[in-house]
Subunit: 496 residues, 2 copies
Amino acid sequence: MYIDIQRNKGISITKQIVLAIVDQILSGFLQGGEKLPSVRSLSKELGVGFLTVVKAYQELEQDGYVHSVQGKGTFVHVKSTDTSKKYPEEKLTQDWQLSVQDYLPRSQFAQFHYVPEKIHLSSSMIDPELIPNQLLERELHHLIREGGTFFSRYGEVQGDMQLREAMQAYLLKKGIPTQPENLLITSGSQQAIDLIARTFVGPGDVVVLEAPTYPGAIDIFRGRGVTILTVPVDNDGMRLDILQHLCDRYRPKIIYTVPTFHNPTGTVLSSMRRRQLLDIAQAMQTIIIEDDPWSEVYYDQKPPAPIKSMDEYGHVIYLKGLSKTLAPGCRIGVLTASGSIFKRILAAKANTDLGTPLITQKLLLPFIESPKMVDHMDKLRNTLKVRRDLVIEILSEHCPEGVSWYIPGGGPNLWISLPSWMQSHHILFEAKKKQVSFLPGSACFPVDHENHHIRLSFSFMNVELLREGVAILCNILHSVILDKNISGHSSNFIVT
Amino acid sequence: MYIDIQRNKGISITKQIVLAIVDQILSGFLQGGEKLPSVRSLSKELGVGFLTVVKAYQELEQDGYVHSVQGKGTFVHVKSTDTSKKYPEEKLTQDWQLSVQDYLPRSQFAQFHYVPEKIHLSSSMIDPELIPNQLLERELHHLIREGGTFFSRYGEVQGDMQLREAMQAYLLKKGIPTQPENLLITSGSQQAIDLIARTFVGPGDVVVLEAPTYPGAIDIFRGRGVTILTVPVDNDGMRLDILQHLCDRYRPKIIYTVPTFHNPTGTVLSSMRRRQLLDIAQAMQTIIIEDDPWSEVYYDQKPPAPIKSMDEYGHVIYLKGLSKTLAPGCRIGVLTASGSIFKRILAAKANTDLGTPLITQKLLLPFIESPKMVDHMDKLRNTLKVRRDLVIEILSEHCPEGVSWYIPGGGPNLWISLPSWMQSHHILFEAKKKQVSFLPGSACFPVDHENHHIRLSFSFMNVELLREGVAILCNILHSVILDKNISGHSSNFIVT
């Protein structure tokens, strides 16, 4: 078992072992029933004291992640709600594989990405009924009739020139002047973040993330072995006073932010803070990743211009998820940056996959500038505003006291804060029994396993299922509180 | 400028600096006209002697990669055949970016991947006229009529279940028993190699590559900072006596091989060596990557069964490029492995891009098992055999003495060996003037810049252009030899 113990990290070694093993369990590397290494072998492998490992295993057992069997060892707790298909029993002959160390500390996001619940509030995707399927089909016919050769050839590594030209015009309208030469088409924004991370950061480098933030980004940066520092978020977005304070002590190489309809909280970084963030990046010679999947989908007022629009010195790498609101099945994003930073990301893209498939690029192309795109965005804004308002209404009426939330001005997510004694994993365990899922807040915290929040995505389910799901959630919250008041203590934490 | 100097590598520091800068030039990170760091600043940055850098810059100048201007500095040589579009002049305000170090030592493959020459013998792609465009279009219509929802949703991270089931049947016919649970759909084999590398190897790990080998794989492993050891290839594939010898001294974590119609040489690893290679991997507890894009496209006799078919203990990760021979625009590959090795690669895939687009998977699906697939492969074999024979015929008749080649039993590549005084870069420079391109052998050598080979791909051009291109190449070889005999010395090496 590979655990990267850092002795000067300001976190106890026991805690580091606990966090690493929790990461592995939540990422599915360690599955229910699997045996942990013996205390003796792990302490030897990591070069840490015997008692340190004993203490870590005790903590894991207290938190319900593992259980020990006298004379047999310590085992990952089997989840009673685990509906995923069991892998066929592997032969014992593959035991040698366990000694092959890897560079993957965590991969939690995918665990929550594809779940079979009926009422799926965990994924910030667009309701399939809102996708312009018919229009896309017409485009496909069009492409076929024109006898495109997009089946038979690789596109340019950098992406289709026509699509890049269309995106140049699109970004200009958002206040971002750029050139097709400085645009890279990626297989979604997840890939873009990954390309940047693999190009610029490694062990010893400092990366700043918001806390909470997008779990997929945490997985990537953790995988690069960087030192992660976190900055909390308030109603105006990232707390720049705290960022400044961190930057006085450390020099971050990258600051990753979702400034507009932040994931998961839904907040917007104020105009003033946008300017300040750029000033800090300039002073520190730091790269900002501005991840912007949702700025078009606002419900109340238009959000401020992207940070990239003020970027004179090439500090900002701007990411626009293109297919997220249009055709998620296409997995297309666009990245813009400048100078040698751009050139190096482009080289990484070539090494990664030699370019995004041409066919999915050609498919989206006609949309980007057409009036249909404008209509589609209007429809999304109107429909999702109704759903947001519905969720807020139900919560206001039915949610128990002590539970609060932030009303997002756009985007698909609602961030709910539970009382500090309440564990979102416990709520999720109960919710799944009733076919409801959400993203537990802990997945969104880069370092700690803060566990008192729920990210509820209202973009994927239609109004009926949304109503049903949120009502079920309110009922569960009520009954958990009732249970506590009766028994006088909180229910046990259960891994789900 | 980031150069990873290794003091115990057995290569002089001067040579390491030279190789690193050549890599950067051939990868396009350093472009014609760009200034190298001053000798003083580079020696300081790398912590090496002043004279070491002076010597490295002199070697680079002798080889024609750079030139120095008195009082101004050292500049990358401007390529006179450089037809690529110039990037717009970047503002001087972006100078801070140059101090941002990266983790990208090389990315050569993409430089040769997309070139505008009329007679394109550098890319091992399939002639677009051989792609079943009409059949694919019909499938698309089919998909649309069935009202698939593949626009609106992400697929599973692991890949579409139907496609995995079809691939299970397909691989079984190749002698590889597997389960859909142990198959991962990737965005081409390039991504698969990258996923494996990022999961399992980093600085300090040893990886064995064939020399020569697939340039895209070199780029990936160099990017992970591993120690690369090379094993030469003879007419029966990788030299296992030399591999065994290496393994007596080092313990490789990964052995990467293209055993069937090896890239670039076209050789086939014999059945006996396949068994031996597996034995070595078992003894060393090593992972084998078996990259198999071309085994279906044989011209004389069917190649031996894949190494994976004998793999009892889960040592082999088998890669099948799926779209390469069918629809390159789709960028689809399949990976199969077992046990925790597979599970960890799957987690890396989630972190990378959350899964390959659904639409391109659905598009290929109907083909995989249908009789059309068999017909298509028959057609490829017949057509490409004719082209291979044509190239061999022209070479035999028109090639000057001292030039030799290996006749490949399958696949798209022909490996031509030049006399040791002849530089393939020089030949490429002359060829490009006549609108002919090929892959210079140097791109295929992981460590040295061995430069006396040509990889000629005969799969992309039709018979007429192939005939013309190979004839032009023969003429150039003749005139270079004539030139040498007249002047008594070889032409200067020119970077092209």
